[in-house]
């Protein structure tokens, strides 16, 4: 039974590692942090495998999201831009790179909610359930996230109308 559980876990890791890595990278915007986040989530999944083996991915993703926010809270990291805004908000770079740069300026919580809503395609209610927060909080954080994106990337202003997004 033990060997069988281990085999099931390894199969799960092989199958879902790329998807989890993508999400972790979006959440952290850093390859190393994303790797740590994935390892933490998978370790927790291995620890509780017998209890969650019916739907391990949901558990792993939940750990991913919550750990990302916890790390940020725990380490009290300050979001300090490495460059002057006029430098990284170069109006001449491609739109995608601009958006990617702007996403890095979001807080972990804002980025987590944006990723859940627009990458994982979760509804506001599902996002609130996964993160253990209220729907109102999801709405307000999303609004703050887009306000920040508009501020950091004025060229995206017309594409990020709150009324269109929310």
């Amino acid at each position: 039974m033990h060997a069988s559980a281990e085999q099931e876990f390894n199969n799960f890791v092989k199958a879902r590692l790329p998807a989890l890595s993508r999400t972790a990278y979006l959440l952290t915007s850093d390859a190393h942090l994303a790797e740590d986040l994935v390892q933490t989530a998978l370790l927790a999944t291995a620890r509780h495998w017998r209890r969650i083996q019916n739907n391990p991915e949901a558990y792993a993703r939940k750990v991913l999201y919550n750990e990302n926010i916890s790390w940020w809270r725990r380490r009290q990291l300050q979001e300090v831009p490495l460059e002057d805004r006029t430098t990284w908000c170069d109006p001449h770079v491609e739109l995608r790179l601009t958006l990617e740069s702007a996403l890095k300026q979001l807080t972990h919580k804002q980025r987590t909610i944006v990723v859940l809503r627009y990458f994982e395609d979760l509804t506001e209610a599902q996002t609130a359930h996964v993160l253990g927060i209220s729907v109102g909080t999801v709405k307000s954080v999303t609004r703050q996230a887009f306000a920040k994106l508009r501020h950091c990337a004025p060229e995206l202003k017309e594409l990020l109308q709150v009324g269109d997004i929310l």
Binding site: P18, T40, A46, F119
Partner: protein, 481 residues
């Protein structure tokens, strides 16, 4: 717009490298699970040790603050008088300075109903109360001078009187240079309140107290003396309404009445002196039969009832109103009461539905062997006798809550209380670790176990490092993904 955002997010995600995970991730997860379980169990054991240690320390401190508890009476939940009454050791009455109460005496009188109050023969200086709920012994620091208490204790009269229900204690204090009038003090064991009621006349020295069976009236008799502690000039008696705690009557007694005479008061507040003529409070009205060896009286409640104190080797004489004296010869009693016993009535048991005749409790005392016991006399002619409480000879001026006495207590046995250790050890005794110190070790061990478990669980958080740092060390293992 959302499509643009989604597409951008997908493009960013597609650039993400696949994370590395070591091949022994499963084994690490299982080890982590085991570690957390061990830490959880350790924390639970530590918490239990902590709670047990705290409880043990608390109970030990409580035991040290409370002089002693009779084991069989503790926890029974029923109010009762212990089967045996023990005198606390003499050292417990020792005081650092004259006029002070012993350190073990308490001024917190909220003890609940009390079974008995007495003095210890010899040192004295603080009366002892025995709890009717847990059998605990408490030295009382009364709200008067300890020296005044000591004088009263050695005076010989019944200066302590416990109400029949054990809820209140009355005590008599002679006048002094500080207080020109005598004082009757009251201690309410249910609320912890104390009241001092001065006598009406200056120089009145109350000596003997008696409660009415319903605890409404307190009858006192004493002497009237000059402030300069001159010779007694006569007897005075008074009556206190315990509801309002006021002296409702105080007057000079008939010359034939002396403070040494036994007294009683009915539920209606009618005082009676126990003399050979059984006079009433004025000393002028004869109430009953003439009994040659009468010394004590009692009251059953609504009626005046008198009890003769007699030497049991002769003929105990007990008398109920309206009937001829009931005489019981000693050979009708138990053999162990033959010879040398004297007795004093402690209280009366009114007739009940089950028993038409009243009964009486006596404190019987054998002079030669210094043996004391409380007996219950019952039956139509008081021919039945039951030994209900054994009293250690060193106990003096005993007053018992007679409503709490029961013949059923005779089956119980009470071991001597575990008196606290004297403060000074003997010359051969070396330094020892007391029980409290032992419990503190348990407490310390519990704290250490809990702290260790917490450190194990929170180690990574305390260090502030990224979790599973071991995983980030890329070893020779292969990547699963």
């Amino acid at each position: 717009v959302t499509e643009l955002l989604k597409r951008t997010l997908r493009e960013v995600a597609d650039e993400a490298p696949v994370s590395y995970v070591p091949s022994d991730l499963w084994a690490q997860g299982q080890r982590s699970r085991t570690r957390r379980r061990v830490a959880g169990v350790s924390a639970m054991v530590g918490a239990l040790a902590l709670v047990a240690g705290a409880l043990a320390v608390g109970s030990q401190l409580n035991a040290e603050l409370t002089p002693a508890t009779a084991p069989s009476a503790a926890g029974s939940g029923k109010l009762s008088v212990p089967r045996q009454l023990y005198a606390p050791p003499e050292w417990m009455f020792a005081t650092a300075e004259k006029g002070q109460y012993p350190p073990s005496a308490t001024a917190d009188f909220e003890l609940g109903p009390v079974a008995a109050v007495f003095d210890r023969a010899g040192p004295g200086g603080a009366p002892v109360a025995v709890s009717a709920t847990d059998g605990g012994y408490h030295l009382l620091a009364l709200p008067v001078s300890s020296e005044a208490v000591r004088r009263q204790a050695t005076g010989g009269e019944q200066w302590l009187a416990l109400s029949p229900d054990g809820a209140q204690l009355a005590f008599a204090v002679e006048p002094s240079k500080v207080t020109p009038t005598g004082v009757i003090g009251f201690v309410d064991f249910l609320t912890g309140d104390t009241r001092l009621v001065p006598t009406q006349r200056s120089g009145t020295a109350p000596a003997t107290l008696a409660w009415s069976p319903n605890a409404r009236w307190l009858f006192y008799v004493g002497s009237s003396r000059q402030l300069s502690a001159g010779p007694r000039t006569g007897s005075v008696w008074g009556l206190i309404d315990t509801k309002s705690l006021t002296v409702v009557q105080e007057m000079r007694a008939d010359p034939r009445v002396t403070p040494e005479l036994p007294i009683a008061v009915t539920n209606d507040g009618a005082p009676v002196f126990g003399s050979a003529n059984m006079v009433d409070g004025t000393g002028k009205r004869r109430l009953g039969y003439w009994l040659p060896s009468l010394r004590s009286v009692g009251s059953t409640g609504p009626m005046v009832a008198l009890a003769g104190r007699a030497e049991l080797r002769d003929t105990p004489r007990l008398w109920r109103p309206g009937k001829a004296p009931a005489l019981a010869r000693v050979d009708e009693l138990r053999l162990d009461f033959q010879g040398g016993w004297t007795s004093d009535p402690l209280g009366w048991v009114p007739p009940t539905a089950a028993q038409s005749a009243s009964a009486v409790y006596l404190l019987a005392e054998k002079a030669g062997d210094q043996e004391k016991t409380v007996v219950l006399l019952g039956g139509d002619r008081f021919q039945n006798y039951t030994r209900v409480v054994d009293v250690e000879p060193a106990i003096a001026n005993l007053s018992v809550a007679t409503n709490l006495l029961s013949a059923e207590t005779s089956a119980q046995t009470v071991a001597e209380p575990d008196w606290p250790t004297p403060p000074t050890a003997g010359p051969t005794a070396g330094p020892t670790v007391g029980p409290t110190a032992g419990y503190l070790w348990y407490l310390l061990a519990g704290i250490l176990v809990v702290a260790s478990a917490l450190v194990v669980v929170l180690r990574r958080r305390i260090s502030g490092r990224v979790p599973v740092e071991a995983l980030s060390e890329r070893g020779p293992s292969t990547q699963l993904g």
